[in-house]
């Protein structure tokens, strides 16, 4: 067991007063908001999450669970990995060498085979229907754990396309736990200080604002001003870390290692955001819904994922951050073993794989299996609810003891009939 990943004693008490006071307010009261040194979070070893979302559905057969030379196995070979007896697709040469760093769960069986319902259903952990909209995992972590000592927004999302504030992820937790999305890796609107305003002037006017606020808030209830202070300070902290979003300044070598493509560059930004101290970083890739020409498409898709994933794991490991960062790589489902008439694979929630690494995870374990044809799970099957239990435990949160508070209605944070997947946790 990793000594850094014992359940965090502070998690519960922090959560309690987050619940009592409203997250933003409480977050502001966490203190430590004054310009955190780089690596502050590293030093504190606060638990973080890197959530890699391959939207549309990555094929398990062309990645983590190959069935070469079988009816549905497709054209590719499998290759041996660092783990004796474990093979992955030949499209993942880099991850094959890092299999001892990750844990595969090859026995996922989930409930939904459509994107529109499947994506939110999976990211919300598919709990029992209680007539409420559950938060995405990122929002749940943001609410349960709050921001790290860095003060940076707790749930950020690096994605192609539009950015901004995405409140809907938060479900009943309310918009303040939504995601701050860096669309095309770019920061949100109004992120940069206008050129007309010098840094000195900005500092001075904010000092004055703080002084006014202090006078105002001192005899009153603290929460609102603390929340206001927190969001203003967060804006400033983000501004101080603006170099994260200026990829033109990144060393070319580093960019090449992650891959000169959207996923590679976004993964690199994601790593910088983790280093800067964001609690939960989601890195998103789109275009995995390969109903047509799947095998040709998969060559570049999986290869580029392999490159970016291996690079980020390598870096997180090198800095020691992997020890306190839970890494998850997944889609909303896998793809059908059956190959359709347009050389594609369709949606397949019946038997697919999720890859995990880092904090609390049993590195080098391969949990569960599919049958020889790769069509169905052989032995115990796991749903996304099991996965949520496992993730929360890895982060030191006990889903059997901790609940959401939905305006007085207590709600379980993970499916109440499910539990941890045996063997996944260190």
């Amino acid at each position: 067991m990793n000594p850094l990943c014992k359940p965090n004693e502070h998690a519960l008490s922090r959560r309690q007063w987050l619940g009592g006071m409203g997250g933003a307010a409480a977050a502001g009261a966490l203190g430590g908001l004054v310009s955190p040194a780089v690596g502050e979070v590293l030093k504190q070893k606060e638990k973080q999450v890197l959530f890699i979302w391959l939207d549309g559905g990555m094929s398990q057969l062309e990645s983590w669970d190959p069935k070469p030379n079988t009816q549905f196995g497709g054209p590719f070979r499998s290759i041996p990995t660092k783990l004796p007896g474990i093979h992955v697709s030949e499209l993942m040469p880099r991850m094959a060498k890092k299999m001892d760093k990750i844990c595969l769960v090859r026995a996922m069986r989930t409930q939904d085979n459509s994107h529109s319902a499947g994506v939110p259903r999976i990211q919300r952990g598919d709990p029992k229907n209680r007539g409420v909209i559950y938060p995405y995992f990122g929002s749940a972590v943001a609410q349960l754990m709050g921001p790290t000592a860095s003060g940076l927004p707790p749930y950020v999302w690096v994605k192609p396309g539009s950015g901004g504030f995405k409140p809907t992820d938060a479900g009943f937790l309310g918009p303040k736990y939504g995601a701050l999305a860096f669309g095309d890796g770019q920061p949100p609107p109004n992120f940069l200080r206008p050129a007309t305003l010098s840094p000195e002037q900005d500092t001075a006017r904010n000092e004055l604002r703080r002084a006014f606020n202090f006078n105002y808030a001192q005899p009153r209830r603290k929460a609102n001003n603390e929340a206001n202070t927190y969001v203003f300070d967060t804006a400033e902290i983000l501004l101080k870390r603006r170099e994260i979003f200026d990829t033109s300044k990144y060393p070319q070598k580093e960019k090449d290692r992650y891959g000169n493509h959207l996923l590679g560059q976004h993964m690199l930004i994601g790593r910088k955001l983790l280093e800067a101290g964001c609690r939960f970083v989601k890195v998103n890739s789109y275009g995995w819904d390969t109903h047509g020409d799947h095998f040709n498409g998969t060559v570049s898709l999986v290869n580029r994922f392999d490159q970016a994933f291996a690079a980020v794991l390598e870096d997180l490991e090198a800095t020691g951050q992997l020890d306190h960062t839970l890494v998850i790589a997944m889609s909303e489902f896998g793809r059908t073993p059956r190959i359709n008439g347009h050389a594609g694979r369709d949606h397949w929630p019946e038997a697919w794989t999720i890859a995990l690494a880092g904090c609390g995870i049993n590195a080098g374990a391969v949990i569960g299996a599919t049958n020889a044809q790769g069509t169905f799970v052989k032995g115990d099957e796991y749903d996304i609810g099991h996965m949520f239990h496992t993730w929360f435990r890895a982060l030191g949160i006990n889903p059997d003891a901790v609940e959401f508070d939905n305006g007085g209605q207590p709600l379980p944070i993970a499916h109440d009939d499910m539990g941890v997947i045996p063997g996944v946790l260190a």
Binding site: G22, A24, S116, N129, R130, G131, V132, P153, G164, F165, P167, T168, G174, P175, K176, G178, L180, P188, P189, N190, F191, L192, R193, P194, T196, L197, Q201, D202, A204, R205, N206, L208, R209, A211, F212, N213, N215, Y216, A217, P219, R220, R221, N224, N225, A227, N228, T229, Y230, V231, F232, T234, A235, E236, G407, G408, Q409, P410
Partner: protein
């Protein structure tokens, strides 16, 4: 039925309360419950002035108005101001704004809806009548057609979701009875014993029966066609196999029997899509629900609006959350809520009267400065800071910065037009669709907007006749401080604040920038951002 209720309402009169106004009785009940808890001081004139202006005119007072009010020595100036503001044309507009946000929860805007809200408050239409017009809209009456928006906006599809009839049903329960029955849609409510699946399904039988229609010759707004309901709706719990049925039914009420008609005789006016005739059912579940729900006989109805009015004035409901009324979640002040509901019924759901009574209370007029040792929120021992919605915030910012007239005259496409600012403020300060705006919630997007948005910063640049210009011309730091505070915060600065301003202005390289930054710092302050 109404006379009986009226007599009930008169009972306290017999008990010797005749001489006391509702506002006085409210304060007594609040004080009684507070017991030994010390109460906050009365709000200062500035606090009071800013509060009533925001609440009843939808913007902060002008510097001139503040100056006059603060200088006015008369003892009854607060009562007079309340009367003056309640007579102001802006009162109806402001109520329309507030009820729009409350009822529509940022789903969007519509001109006819807004007209209907303003007209209703202007005419002081009783709340039960307003509610009936929303619950069972009469599309053919142009004066009432705007009320369709409550239903039709909720029938619009968004994203990839199917038409949200359950959501509409839920909101009818929430907004008009203070009960959120959503969790009882598929089975009995797991945490609220009072809410049965039947309570949701009875309402759903009426509101799931609607199909969204486009405007036509007779109905100038989007409207919904009510289909013929021939038999009771079947439903079953996901927990059990047994099936039950229900006709339309107000939650916790008696089922309404569905009458039988001979085939072809169900319609008083037959619908004709080609001619744009919406038709009129002889038996309309919507009308049945509306007449049974929005009446004094339905105790939930009066209590809900009393609680919501209290919430709008005090920042916290007597029942919290506002839509979880049930026996295990009693009001913080049960007698008070009973009193408000009964009096409202006795006054025929006259909201203007109720809001005026609430405005007159000491409870409303208390300071947000806490008494020594603090005060728990639910005792209403001090005023609670409330959010200022995006629209009144924009009006206040434009008024204070002295840019309102300029901005109003600009073309819509201009980056500094009223429309551009409207969009920017909505984007920065309004919640996402379907998210209620109930409490002060500073957000990162708002902070980024205030800190860095170029249009916002444009407002604090010197321009002929604007606030910054006016302040610069005053030259002396003390005068600048006085005028800035009065304009933005409706109060005079303290000595300490004057000293802060002075030292700030002196340290900055140019007075022009420094004054702009001073205005910005006040504009971005917590004090400006909340209704305290």
């Amino acid at each position: 039925m109404r006379p009986i209720i009226f007599i009930c309402a008169l009972l306290p009169v017999l008990a010797g309360w005749a001489a006391e106004s509702l506002s006085q009785r409210i304060d007594k009940l609040i004080a009684a419950k507070a017991g030994r808890q010390p109460l906050a001081e009365p709000a200062s004139d500035s606090e009071f002035l800013r509060r009533v202006y925001l609440d009843f005119t939808g913007q902060i007072p002008t510097a001139e108005g503040a100056r006059k009010f603060l200088a006015n020595p008369s003892a009854d100036k607060r009562a007079k101001l309340i009367d003056q503001l309640f007579a102001d044309a802006r009162w109806a507009e402001t109520m329309a704004d507030r009820f729009h946000v409350l009822l529509m929860e940022r789903r969007g805007e519509e001109e006819e809806w807004r007209k209907w809200l303003v007209a209703s408050f202007k005419a002081n239409k009783p709340w039960d009548a307003m509610a009936r017009e929303m619950l069972a809209p009469e599309g053919t009456d142009a004066a009432k057609a705007g009320a369709w928006f409550f239903i039709t906006k909720r029938l619009e599809k968004y994203g990839q979701n199917p038409t949200d009839h359950p959501g509409l049903t839920r909101d009818v329960g929430r907004m008009f009875m203070g009960v959120d029955l959503q969790c009882a849609q598929c089975h009995r409510h797991l945490t609220v014993k009072d809410y049965k699946q039947l309570d949701f399904q009875g309402l759903y039988a009426a509101y799931s029966n609607l199909r969204l229609q486009n405007p036509n010759d007779t109905i100038k707004v989007k409207w919904a066609m009510e289909s013929l309901l021939k038999k009771e709706m079947e439903f079953g719990s996901v927990f059990s196999e047994t099936k039950k049925t229900t006709g339309p039914r107000v939650p916790f009420g008696v089922p309404i029997t569905i009458p039988e008609f001979k085939k072809g005789e169900e319609w008083a006016v037959k619908p004709d899509k080609k001619k744009g005739v919406s038709g009129r059912l002889k038996f309309s579940p919507l009308r049945e629900i509306a007449t049974r729900m929005a009446t004094p006989e339905n105790p939930y109805f009066a209590r809900n609006i009393a609680n919501r009015a209290w919430f709008l004035m005090m920042g916290r409901g007597l029942i919290e959350p506002l839509d979880l009324t049930h026996t295990k979640n009693p009001p913080s002040h049960p007698e008070l809520l009973d009193l408000l509901a009964k009096e409202l019924v006795a006054h025929k759901f006259d909201l203007k009267w109720l809001f005026r009574e609430l405005a007159r209370t000491q409870t409303y007029q208390r300071s947000s400065v806490l008494p020594k040792g603090g005060a728990p929120e639910h005792l209403f021992a001090s005023a609670k800071e409330r959010p200022i919605a995006a629209e009144p915030l924009l009006r206040s910012v434009l008024l204070a910065t002295g840019e309102r007239d300029r901005v109003t005259k600009l073309d819509e496409e201009d980056a500094h037009s009223l429309k551009s600012f409207g969009d920017l403020f909505q984007g920065a300060f309004a919640n996402a669709p379907r998210e209620p705006e109930l409490a002060v919630t500073p957000t990162l997007k708002a902070a980024l907007f205030l800190r860095n948005n170029e249009a916002l910063l444009w407002l604090v640049q010197r321009r002929e006749g604007n606030l910054v210009d006016r302040l610069i011309k005053l030259k002396e730091p003390a005068k600048i401080a006085n005028e800035a505070f009065l304009t933005l915060l409706a109060r005079n600065p303290s000595d300490a604040e004057r000293a802060m301003v002075k030292s700030f202005l002196q340290k900055q390289p140019t007075l022009q920038n420094a004054v702009g930054d001073l205005v910005w710092a006040l504009l971005s302050s917590t004090e400006f951002f909340v209704n305290h």
